[in-house]
Symmetry: C2
């Protein structure tokens, strides 16, 4: 039987041109985050299925690629449901594995612990253009830092990295889950409705104030509550300083440390930033995951209007593994989106080594071939990238292909010349 | 329910200290192989289960982690056997995915195509010390190069890389599947017995000539055939030049291009090598996979006596995907073993950036904190790795931990001192 040449549905082969950009970006990320004291770690791509189905992953838990049990533990004929045949699952993000890792290894890790993870994750999403079922994530996280030094360092490290990759004029939007909750609470929403309210609020960018109000009413919320909520957002639009306005408006519904914390993060980031971007308070920023407990943030690229990464504080997740909470805060950059933006903009890798192709006629063998290779070795020692290849029959086409691969110069070696030489 | 802190059975978390070594080694590998014109590629970690069960993978096919079907395609209650519930599998090596990749993308790839792949593979081996069910492989392969220029470049690239990582005095052992077959054939073994004979021959290192002969007889081979076979190997031990000896002994059973090819590879590698190693003809070298069609080779580290990587020519595999064979040759280094050797020998990363930890007293906030961070940013710009962290209550222990992490200097920031300017 002939074998299938295609990758599995929804996943893709990565060609050399894109891989060069990916390798370059990975290098910049590792070096820049390294400067901030983040250390690389790695976890297995599989986790126990119970860890992945614990409600921390929200909608992603419906998209898990599950791994079949093996050996004696597997009895397909007698199995009744998935749980009978599955023990592991492919990770759908890097956060759940990271928290497990921290819980498992805390005794051997420094405090604070600053982790950098780059790795593939898998989600059985419906295949669609530009969205794949295996993709790379790139996260930095800090454990054991309760002050907003964590948020400041995460934002500075991420923006410095983006700057080194050539991005400019982007925006970091920041908000706080406690602020979101206080605004909802003071308007009269009850706690069990927050998730639904925030899903609607998250659409403000697209559907505007009126759209948000209409959807809240559609979802059955009382008109006076919805009105009070929207009134807060209208006031914010007029306010000279949103944080001052909310602190005054929300009064006892909000601890002053929340607005002060946001102000301090924004000011410190502005004072120390090493890239061209703005950091702005965005009271409509929600971020999907319900595990966030404090500040949340997001990267928006100019002109795109879509998120290119984000993160926030999640102080209550380690406790689910160990019974004891540990402050935690993370920032994930949209690695695949960044690669797409770079490749689509014709990005050229800076300081790439010079590339020369040695084309060797068929029949050049023995000592003559050894001489060609020795010459190539000497050039490689000096930092040149040298491809030694047999000259194809269609030399013109071969050179065109190699030029497309980035080869700038060609040296041709012929049997006769080498004999005489 | 409390979640499990442990990684899944047989897989492991990688701690920061080891990851630093891994990242460094990956960097050296990518840079050095790059100089030889190898370009990175990537394939999905999953393949269609039919591609993984096509007998190319030998024993590894019994160790596949299989992936459950999803959605409507899955009906566990009515399923009778594995095939009913499984569609994908985790790759157990990088060769099968690479050949599929080449077959799928050949039109967009240069000729010859020189690929570098680094990625995890999964095998459901019985868990044992030092052997894990997820591990990294690192392969280079050349497609479309029929001459032994491929073998020469693969061996030079691999040995140059090992040299740059500090390894010396190692051995490259080389043989040829055609030579192995000619020796078996001329002794009187029939073709269907070769695999069994080679499995026994592979133990020569451990059980010696007598052991090999005893096992051949045990396996039911005729004494005169076994004796003729061993006689060849005894003759080789005495011979001044093994390749000359075999060429004479095997006569018409062997095309002269086989011994001449090995001689040329050995001489060219010796003439151009950029590391301290020996390349030697080893007529007992077998390499497990039956897909090899020509020269095969293996790295042996001094004193260890175990393989630390290997490869060979496999000219008949692309045809299984496309119906048309393409010359192919690859070399895989034992990435995990190399990491183990380096970490166990107390390897220190050369030219690592200087590491300084800024320890900031609790209560340093606002402008004072922004000043500390700005100072850190300036040092980072100059290439220093700066960790900004809150001073812990037990400052002595914190410094000890950070020293173990490689931090060489500490700067302490106190509220009072900063206030006074």
């Amino acid at each position: 039987m002939a074998l299938s040449k295609k990758p599995v549905t929804g996943m893709r082969d990565i060609l050399p041109g894109e891989m060069q950009v990916r390798d370059y970006v990975i290098g910049v990320i590792k070096e820049t985050y390294g400067r901030f004291g983040f250390t690389s770690i790695e976890t297995p791509c599989m986790e126990n299925i119970a860890n992945l189905s614990n409600k921390q992953g929200g909608e992603n838990e419906k998209l898990i690629f599950k791994v079949l049990k093996r050996g004696e533990k597997l009895n397909v004929a007698q199995a009744q449901e998935e749980g009978d045949v599955v023990d592991f699952g492919m990770r759908y993000d890097l956060t759940v594995p990271l928290v497990r890792y921290y819980s498992n290894n805390a005794a051997q890790l420094p405090a604070p612990f600053k982790a950098l993870q780059m790795g593939n994750v898998w989600r059985a999403d419906r295949p669609q253009r530009g969205r794949y079922r295996q993709f790379m994530q790139c996260d930095i996280d800090i454990f054991g830092e309760e002050s907003n030094l964590a948020e400041i360092e995460l934002i500075l490290a991420t923006t410095t990295t983006l700057g080194k990759l050539g991005f400019q004029g982007f925006e970091i939007r920041i908000n706080d889950r406690q602020l979101l909750k206080a605004m909802a609470s003071s308007s009269g929403f009850s706690e069990e409705d927050y998730d639904s309210v925030f899903i609607t609020l998250d659409k403000m960018d697209k559907i505007g104030m009126d759209g948000v109000k209409a959807e809240l009413l559609e979802n059955g919320f009382a008109p006076d509550i919805a009105e009070r909520y929207l009134e807060l957002y209208r006031g914010l639009e007029q306010a000279e300083n949103g944080l001052d306005y909310l602190r005054e408006k929300l009064g006892e519904n909000l601890e002053s440390s929340v607005t002060e914390g946001l102000r301090e993060i924004i000011e410190s980031v502005n004072a120390a930033k090493a890239a061209d971007f703005r950091i702005v308070f965005d009271p409509t920023l929600v971020r999907g995951m319900s595990y966030y407990t404090g500040p949340i943030f997001e990267i928006v690229m100019p002109g795109l209007g879509i998120s290119c990464g984000g993160g926030g504080r999640y102080d209550k997740m380690v406790g689910k593994f160990t019974g004891k909470d540990v402050p935690a805060c993370g920032f994930s950059i949209g690695f695949e989106r960044i690669i797409l933006l770079l490749t689509e903009s014709g990005f050229r890798i800076p300081n790439a080594p010079k590339r020369i192709a040695y084309l060797v006629e068929k029949g050049v063998e023995g000592q003559a071939m050894a001489d060609v290779i020795a010459k190539a070795q000497a050039a490689r020692e000096e930092g040149v990238q040298v491809l030694v290849a047999r000259m194809n029959k269609n030399k013109k086409f071969q050179k065109e292909q190699l030029t497309a691969e980035g080869y700038e110069a060609f040296v041709e070696f012929y049997r006769e010349a080498l004999k005489n030489g």
